[in-house]
């Protein structure tokens, strides 16, 4: 028995559309036949773009949503039939900093949630002090959360999720909006928890984070898992292609699409980072990268794209996603 077991999980939502009195119902499939398990002492990354189904997966595991079909078990407890037992074994950090009481201090928030998780008061007091110190909030523990910075709130929200030392931890974008130092600290704590034997399910937008932390990664898109393996194995699957990264200004998607006409090119995606200058990155997966660069540049320059840098890069998990879907993660 693994701490998290998800079998053939599907989740549909019914949404109403249209003006009053003319509303029509539509069924949206958020998850379709999702299956995976997370072992003890494993970090399992769920990687996918916005709306792919990452948060729905987490909310179903943590009993906030009921599956349409399929089965989810947390430490052997069915999340529908034994939801209270499942919740006792779960630590959950949902996205955002509005998961705390802003009119309570950091310490008061933790004391409140410690009681809800049936922690012994003396043990809770010590644990709270240890965790506050761990994330550098001990000196601000009596400050109301409304006076915390976003980073401080996210750190507090994170330690709230691990307060009762749950065997299973679900982290939904735990480092979003954090400064690099705080993000590094949170990642270190997550790695320590893995060493202590916690089973950790992590969703993230950040490819580097998923790559660095995860023992295995599931790539999810449109509610389906489209690949699942250790990050190194996933990256190896795209190694047969070279990844060419072209930094440019005035990127015209129609010109970029012309690159698909080059026989050795498998995938092309462009990401605009600066809308005013149409500046950004064009990523090309090619079987013959070095030899096709001159032809690529010729097409781009002729189309008015101002190329500033070209390099052959090592494949990342983003490239895995591109090769699987033909789209960038942030599309």
């Amino acid at each position: 028995m693994d701490p998290i077991e998800v079998h053939s999980l599907s989740k549909n939502f019914t949404v109403k559309e249209g003006a009053a009195f003319r509303k029509t119902s539509k069924t949206i499939t958020a998850l379709e036949d999702v299956s995976f398990s997370v072992k003890k002492g494993e970090i399992f990354g769920l990687l996918g773009p916005n709306g792919a189904g990452k948060t729905t997966t987490i909310k179903t595991i943590c009993t906030l949503l009921q599956p349409t079909s399929g089965e989810v078990r947390v430490n052997g407890h069915d999340v529908v039939k034994e939801s209270q037992q499942a919740r006792q074994d779960l630590g959950v950090m949902l996205t955002g900093d509005r998961t705390l009481y802003w009119k309570l201090s950091g310490r008061e928030n933790l004391e409140y949630f410690a009681a809800l998780y049936h922690m012994n008061r003396a043990q809770a007091t010590k644990r709270i002090q240890d965790l506050l110190k761990l994330v550098g909030l001990d000196e601000r523990q009596d400050t109301l959360v409304e006076n915390y910075s976003t980073g401080m709130r996210i750190r507090l929200s994170f330690i709230k999720s691990i307060l009762h030392e749950p065997p299973v931890i679900l982290l939904d974008e735990p480092t979003m909006s954090l400064d690099p130092q705080s993000a590094r600290l949170i990642r270190e704590i997550i790695q320590n928890m893995r060493r202590q034997g916690h089973a950790i399910l992590l969703t993230t937008h950040y490819m580097e984070e998923a790559d660095q932390l995860s023992d295995r990664v599931a790539v999810i898109d449109h509610g389906k898992i489209i690949a699942m393996a250790p990050p190194s194995e996933l990256k190896r699957s795209v190694m047969k292609s070279e990844v060419i990264e072209i930094e440019a200004q005035n990127i015209d998607p129609q010109i970029v699409e012309k690159l698909r006409g080059i026989p050795s090119v498998n995938e092309v995606v462009s990401t605009i980072q600066d809308p005013s200058s149409l500046g950004g990155m064009v990523k090309v997966h090619s079987n013959d990268g070095k030899n096709t660069i001159p032809e690529m540049l010729g097409i781009l320059v002729k189309g008015g794209v101002e190329v500033s840098n070209v390099k052959i890069a090592t494949p990342t998990l983003e490239d895995v996603f591109i090769s699987l879907t033909g789209r960038a993660l942030r599309d």
């Binding site: 939502f13 019914t14 909310k59 943590c62 009993t63 906030l64 949503l65 009921q66 349409t68 209270q84 037992q85 919740r87 006792q88 779960l90 959950v92 949902l94 955002g96 509005r98 998961t99 705390l100 009481y101 802003w102 009119k103 309570l104 008061e108 004391e111 409140y112 949630f113 009681a115 809800l116 998780y117 049936h118 012994n120 008061r121 109301l144 709230k160």
Partner: protein, 277 residues
């Protein structure tokens, strides 16, 4: 941990959290405290302007009560306010938690939902008891000091009468989770209850069919019995039957209300309503 501390520690934590919030957002308490005085003054002014110098005598003749009209009316206004806080409180507090994003955090905890609702309600009991003591107690002691003993009995009646209101509060909480418009439901219900329960008059004035509905609302009994007990400590003797009715309501209403809430919670898990604003 024992099951007793498993129950009471979360309950205590919810209670403390609510109290801290009330202390740190004091404006609402001040507002709620002055409302009964304003409402009572309004009714007295209206009555006096319509009935002229004979207003108080007419009032005694019509109601059959020798209570000071201000005391008579402020009991109704006080119970109405307390009921408002309890019924609306449970629903609106859940809505506020939903808006703040903390409702999901509470629902993630391994505690029974009943504890969550009761914990929220308990804090309302303390607050409303204090407010009621301030509003009605002061008025009775100043205007009808001989009724001090009856005042104590009346608090007992109020405490019993608050329990069935939690059941109605649970229904509001369920509607809030589903429709996310707490004020539309609770304010309509509060005004309706104000009319049906004899807040500013005896329900005997109401048509028979309306009185039948009034009898099913706990505040009707609470207001009547409190007026009786304050008027005369012996007056309540005749009302023991109604206290038994209140006790029965105290069992039936919260049970039904919680069942109703659980049905809506189950639906919210299917639709994802908990995190929708």
């Amino acid at each position: 941990m024992t099951s007793i501390s498993n129950t009471f520690d979360p309950l205590r934590a919810i209670f403390r959290k609510q109290l801290r919030h009330l202390i740190r957002y004091p404006g609402e308490m001040v507002f709620v405290f002055i409302i009964p005085y304003l409402l009572t003054s309004l009714v007295i002014a209206m009555g006096t302007s319509v009935a002229g110098p004979q207003a108080f005598a007419n009032f005694a003749a019509q109601t059959g009560s020798n209570l000071n009209p201000f005391v008579f009316l402020i009991i109704g206004a006080g119970v109405w306010m307390v009921s408002w806080v309890v019924m609306e409180g449970i629903g609106t507090l859940l809505r506020e938690e939903q808006m703040k994003g903390t409702l999901e955090q509470n629902f993630l905890a391994p505690i029974n939902r009943f504890l969550l609702l009761v914990g929220t309600a308990l804090s309302q009991i303390v607050i409303t008891s204090l407010l009621f003591a301030g509003v009605v107690g002061v008025s009775v002691l100043v205007l009808a000091p001989q009724a001090a003993l009856g005042l104590l009995v009346s608090y007992g009646i109020l405490m019993i009468g608050l329990i069935p209101l939690f059941g109605i509060g649970f229904v509001f909480a369920a509607l809030v989770v589903r429709f996310k418009e707490p004020y539309a439901f609770t304010q309509a219900a509060n005004i309706l209850f104000g009319v049906l329960t004899g807040t500013f008059y005896n329900v005997t004035f109401l048509p028979v069919w309306v009185r039948t509905i009034s009898a099913a609302i706990p505040q009707t009994i609470v207001i009547q019995d409190m007026r009786l007990s304050i008027y005369s400590i012996n007056g309540i003797v005749g009302g023991f039957g109604s206290i038994l009715v209140l006790l029965a309501m105290a069992i039936v209403y919260p049970t039904l209300g919680y069942y109703f809430f659980k049905q809506f919670e189950r639906r919210a898990k299917i639709t994802g309503d908990l995190s929708k604003f």
